[in-house]
């Protein structure tokens, strides 16, 4: 980039003033560039450089801009964003990570926040918006402190110790252990996570669906998994935690039409977006008491066999040609017969099935579907306890179909959904799987429902794995803020002021919640703080520390009782991630942007 136009790009004026020295080897380009500026850094680099307070302020401004984008989507009264891409495709969402992912964020520091949201999304699955808001607030306050002459390293160490104090406080005081986690708590957590989303208004319905879905994929956890939970910091009581809940076993299918309330969960079932390959096949197969329905999952072609490239067969007798031809047909036929003989009642393949072969399936009363998605088949294999078969050859070079590869289920049937058909597999006999079929007015709505439901599923999973919860609706943040304020007074070094700032920064969550609900943020937050201060200084009323915001009424209430709860692990993680991200950005005091190689 030589001589960018400041008016068109809005880039900093300083950038123009610091036109770089062309690199020695690039002297040839010198003529095309403006004269070197004596005020430049003196380094011979082919790019621009910004240092000191400029870069820090720039970074913080960028981070704030990112937070401002997602701010209005926080909380039960947050609103959605409509994102339109360059070819006009529309995306309507409330999910912080999705918003940021779809925006073309160019500023490097802002990208750190985008990555932060993605990290939260993949690690916890929920709370992507709040993590970005906290990080940006920490940055803003950190930057002000630097301006007031506190060295960034002090701020960093202050933030670190504040984080440590906050996490230990959550673990010690805020966490509610729910030894026997009833559905009620799980549903509350799911409801809290989806309250801000498009399905929030039907949260009773969807939270039940989410809880049922997660519970249906319960698996016994291995020792490694349990160790994993402990490493994650969740306080595992050894007895209650022998299970894991792989969300990948929950399949979400979207079909437009009907209304969102007609979405349904196929408990222990799996749906595949594929239809019978021939109309003559039965629309359903059902198990008998003796034998379940066997499903063969193939990742190979059932088309007429053809020799691989370069394979040559030389025959002397012309009649042999005819035999080759016949053999080609018979190879596939034999394969199919082996599959049928193994007892398969349903045959699914990722590749094609020759029309010539349909008849065998039709005659045997088998449902066969072709061109299934491989990922779906893999999951179905897991769910039904089968294996995806890629070849029928065995070590001796013979072909055989191993009956062990077959999955088992209660019944399979073709169901008409909207304008298309799907295959429903009921009663999977393997590790369990569930499918949620979402219905809705149009595609955009379905996509958003999918994202919202995914968040809720993550939350329920975290809850089940950790058995701990914290009150939501700004309660945890307010309590931490009060606690950290007290903690700051016990520190006699420079970090004291930093920790105080950290305490104040956490209040950004209740503040934003109140602002989005069009309530008086200052007053509500003040009230909230005073209740928590009372709770922490003497007053024995245990419910005081669970006080959070009621955003509909604009008042303070016991959020634990009101059922606004979040998994403790997600709160702890989001604090950790936000602090780490803020520290990463605060540490930067020099930015060198290299010009693109010419």
């Amino acid at each position: 980039m030589s001589a960018p136009n400041p008016a068109s790009t809005g880039l900093s004026r300083t950038l123009i003033a610091r036109q770089p020295y062309p690199h020695r080897h690039h002297n040839i380009y010198r003529a095309t560039m403006s004269a070197p500026n004596p005020a430049s850094t003196g380094l011979f680099i082919n790019g621009t450089r910004e240092t000191g307070q400029d870069v820090r302020t720039g970074n913080v401004t960028a981070a704030l801009a990112v937070a401002n984008i997602v701010k209005t989507s926080l909380g039960p009264v947050g609103l959605d964003k409509m994102l339109v891409d360059d070819i006009g495709d529309v995306l309507i969402t409330n999910d912080g990570a999705t918003i940021l992912k779809s925006l073309e964020v160019e500023h490097p520091a802002a990208r750190v926040l985008v990555d932060l949201a993605n990290l939260q999304d993949s690690e916890v699955g929920d709370g992507t918006t709040s993590v970005v808001i906290i990080a940006s607030e920490l940055l803003r306050r950190g930057n002000d402190l630097v301006k007031n002459g506190i060295h960034p390293t002090t701020i960093i160490s202050g933030y670190r110790s504040a984080l440590k104090a906050a996490v230990s406080y959550i673990k010690k005081e805020m966490v509610v252990h729910v030894d026997n986690l009833g559905d009620e708590h799980l549903m509350n957590a799911a409801r809290t996570s989806m309250s801000s989303k498009i399905i929030g208004k039907e949260s009773d319905f969807f939270s039940k669906m989410a809880v049922d879905a997660v519970k249906s994929v319960k698996m016994t956890a291995t020792a490694a998994d349990v160790a994993g939970y402990e490493a994650m910091g969740s306080s595992t009581s050894a007895t209650s935690n022998k299970h894991k809940y792989p969300l990948s076993a929950i399949h979400i299918l979207k079909a437009h039409g009907k209304s969102s309330m007609e979405s349904h969960l196929i408990d222990g079932g799996f749906a595949i977006n594929a239809m019978r390959a021939a109309q003559g096949m039965p629309t359903m197969v059902e198990s008998t008491p003796e034998a379940p329905v066997k499903i063969a999952m193939l990742d190979m072609n059932l088309q007429r066999h053809r020799m691989g490239m370069g394979v040559q067969v030389i025959v002397k007798d012309p009649a042999e040609i005819e035999n080759i031809k016949k053999r080609e047909m018979d190879i596939t036929k034999e394969r199919i017969n082996k599959i049928i003989d193994a007892g398969a009642k349903v045959v699914l393949t990722t590749k094609g099935v020759d029309d010539l072969c349909m008849k065998y399936f039709v005659e045997a009363g088998i449902i066969c579907a072709r061109r299934c998605v491989r990922e779906d088949l893999k999951r179905l294999a897991k769910a039904t306890g089968g294996r995806v078969v890629t070849t029928m050859a065995d070590m001796e070079g013979n072909e055989a179909f191993d009956a062990d590869c077959l999955g088992a289920c209660d019944s399979v049937r073709e169901v008409r959904i909207g304008d298309g058909e799907m295959l429903y597999v009921y009663g999977c006999k393997g590790h369990g799987a569930s499918t949620i079929v979402l219905r809705g007015a149009n595609e955009y709505m379905l996509d958003e429902m999918d994202r919202a439901l995914h968040d809720s599923l993550c939350v329920v999973k975290r809850m089940l794995e950790s058995n701990t919860l914290v009150p939501g609706g700004g309660a945890a943040e307010a309590a931490l803020s009060v606690h950290l304020d007290d903690y700051a007074h016990t520190i006699d070094s420079r970090e004291q002021v930093v920790i105080q700032e950290y305490a104040d920064a956490l209040l950004v969550i209740p503040k934003t919640l109140a602002v989005n609900a069009a309530k008086d943020a200052s007053e509500l937050v003040a009230k909230l703080r005073s209740v928590h201060a009372k709770g922490q200084h003497g007053d024995d009323d245990p419910s005081l520390k669970y006080m959070g915001l009621d955003l509909i009424e604009g008042s303070i209430r016991d959020n634990l009782k009101a059922g606004v709860v979040e998994p403790a692990i997600s709160k702890i993680k989001s604090l950790r991630f936000a602090t780490e991200a803020a520290i990463t950005i605060l540490r930067i005091d020099d930015r060198i942007t290299l010009n693109a190689a010419q």
Binding site: S12, D85, K101, L103, E363
Partner: protein
């Protein structure tokens, strides 16, 4: 341009791509509402029996003349994202129930327009959304109470039902024929599907009505609309392969194949090097023998008609002609499936695997007929035709296309009733009943959501209003009178003291004259499932659009 404001002492910090454009807050919401209004206005005039057609020109110069809501919106090229999302609604409606595509857009547009005052007076969108949803539940329960169950085989009722649905369309002059055809076609292809006893789920249907596959509409230009008919069997546009073959067979034995009856090389690459003259002859002979073999295998089953999806070689034709078998070639897979279902045959893929059961004997009469310049094969008088062909005749291609769209709509209506035999009064009666009912319920509500709740009721009035508007009577007077009729029904109940009972008031607007009529006597009914779907879709999509407070365009392709 999304960037933080300029900081003192330094330039702007660019966070987003410079191309990105944002509309935020109130402006975004009002923009969305306006876009929805614009879309609804496009098709407003196509509702009701007095609807007008739209002529659409596509960039290639082709024309579409229609009053089908979905069809119009599909052709219109809109750029506003919200408008696009509205158009999607119409598509979803079309795929799910196949009717009511116009009303869903008008209703959704009206829901948003009625939300505008709330947005302007700073009521939080989530409050509006909550009110709307509450109203939706109430509206659905009103509809359920209003519903009337119909017997699918009651031809009179069904006829009037379908008539009310396609009454608005171009072919209304041939209403009786159309309705009759739709009924016949759907009842032909309807069949019960076995339900697994172990699975008790309410989401699966007990009936299968696959119009797309088994009720084929064949359009033949020429003739007149009065010549349209539903066959008791199937028909396709193919001539026999050999002119000597029989052209009329009673009770034919039909064999369906999907394999070529000609010599075909193997899939693997084969090179033949011949050094011997003898070998060359053997090779040629082998090819002939191969075809002969196949034909003999077929002839052994003594079919009268052989139909294949692939080619039939001259040699095979010769054998068939000699054996007095009529052969067709290159039939489409879908047509073949239909023939199979109508005649009870199974499609065979290898000639050495034919079995007696594969032969179809369900057909009563096969005949070749010449219509216009082309030959058509008719398989009629089938014993149990579970598939059928609908023949449409008419002046020009455009007319035929429009009739086809109407007929498809009509068949969808019948299908919906077969699935769910409940009916609701048409002509705006249901909407007015819901509207009045919501007002009654809304006045009892407390709190801020009352406004949005009542707004849904008002929005429902858009259907009778548009009906009145389209037939040119005084809108305000008619709608007020209608509202009064419905309100009176409520008052009567209150007077009788039987509170809680539901007044069944079926008064609506006769879309042709604009007069108020009792739909019960007038005989205009609409399927329950369509109405319900329309209301649900309209409210849900309005809620989705209301929740948006930020439109960012120029974002990158989503990777989600």
């Amino acid at each position: 341009m999304a960037s933080a404001g300029p900081m003192p002492g330094m330039g702007q910090v660019m966070v987003l791509n410079a191309k990105t454009q944002r509309t935020q807050g109130r402006k975004a919401q009002l923009d969305n509402i306006n876009a929805a209004r614009a879309v609804a206005d496009i098709i407003r005039s196509t509702l009701g029996p007095r609807s007008m057609l739209k002529m659409l020109l596509d960039p290639m110069g082709g024309i579409v003349i229609t009053n089908d809501g979905n069809c119009i919106l599909r052709e219109v090229d809109v750029s506003h994202p919200t408008a696009k999302s509205m158009i999607e609604l119409s598509r979803a409606q079309d795929e799910e129930v196949g009717d009511g595509t116009t009303s869903v857009i008008i209703l959704a547009g009206e829901m948003l327009i009625n939300a505008e005052p709330f947005v302007r007076t700073n009521i939080h969108p989530t409050v509006i959304v909550r009110g709307y949803n509450y109203a939706l539940q109430e509206a659905l329960s009103i509809c359920e109470k209003l519903a009337l169950v119909v017997d699918v085989h009651d031809t009179v009722r069904m006829t009037s039902l379908v008539q009310s649905c396609i009454g608005t369309k171009f072919s209304s002059r041939w209403n009786d024929i159309m309705v009759d055809m739709a009924l016949k076609a759907v009842l032909t292809v309807a069949r019960e599907i076995p339900t697994p006893g172990s699975v008790n789920d309410v989401y699966s249907q007990k009936m299968e009505v696959d119009i797309k596959r088994y009720a084929k509409v064949e359009k033949i230009p020429g003739g007149e609309i009065g010549d349209c008919a539903v066959l008791k069997g199937v028909m396709f546009n193919k001539d026999v392969t050999h002119s000597k073959m029989r052209r009329r067979i009673e009770n034919p034995r039909i064999l369906l194949l999907d394999t070529p009856l000609e010599y075909k090389k193997g899939e693997s690459q084969t090179n033949v090097e011949i050094t011997d003259e003898e070998d060359w002859n053997t090779l040629l002979k082998m090819e002939e023998e191969y075809v002969e073999n196949m034909c003999m295998e077929i002839i052994a089953f003594k079919p009268d008609i052989v139909i294949t999806e692939k080619g039939v070689s001259d040699l095979a034709q010769h054998y068939f002609a000699k054996a007095d078998i009529t052969a067709f070639r290159r039939l489409r897979k879908t047509d073949n499936n239909r023939v199979a279902r109508a005649t009870g045959a199974t499609i065979v893929s290898r000639t050495d695997e034919i079995r007696e059961e594969d032969i179809g004997t369900g057909c009563g009469l096969f005949e070749m007929r010449k219509i216009g310049e082309e030959y058509f094969a008719f398989f009629e008088e089938c014993k149990e035709p579970k598939a059928c062909t609908v023949i449409l005749r008419g002046g020009s291609k455009d007319v035929l296309n429009e009739i086809e769209r109407n007929l498809l709509d009509a068949m969808q209506v019948v299908r919906n009733v077969v699935f769910d035999p409940r009916l609701l009064p048409g002509g705006g009666a249901t909407e007015m009943a819901v509207s009045v009912g919501l007002r009654k319920a809304g006045l009892k509500l407390e709190g801020i959501q009352q406004g949005p709740f009542l707004a849904v009721g008002e929005a429902m009035e858009v259907i009778p209003r548009t009906l009145a508007q389209n037939c040119g009577v005084s809108v305000i007077r008619t709608v007020t009178q209608l509202r009064a009729k419905h309100a009176a029904a409520y008052e009567e109940i209150e007077k009788n003291g039987s509170d809680g009972a539901f007044p069944k008031c079926n008064w609506g607007i006769d879309g042709t004259t604009g007069q108020l009529v009792d739909m019960e006597q007038f005989g205009i009914w609409e399927p329950f499932s369509v109405k319900i779907q329309t209301i649900k879709t309209a409210v849900e999509s309005a809620c989705m659009i209301l929740r948006i407070d930020d439109i960012v365009s120029g974002s990158k392709k989503k990777g989600y």
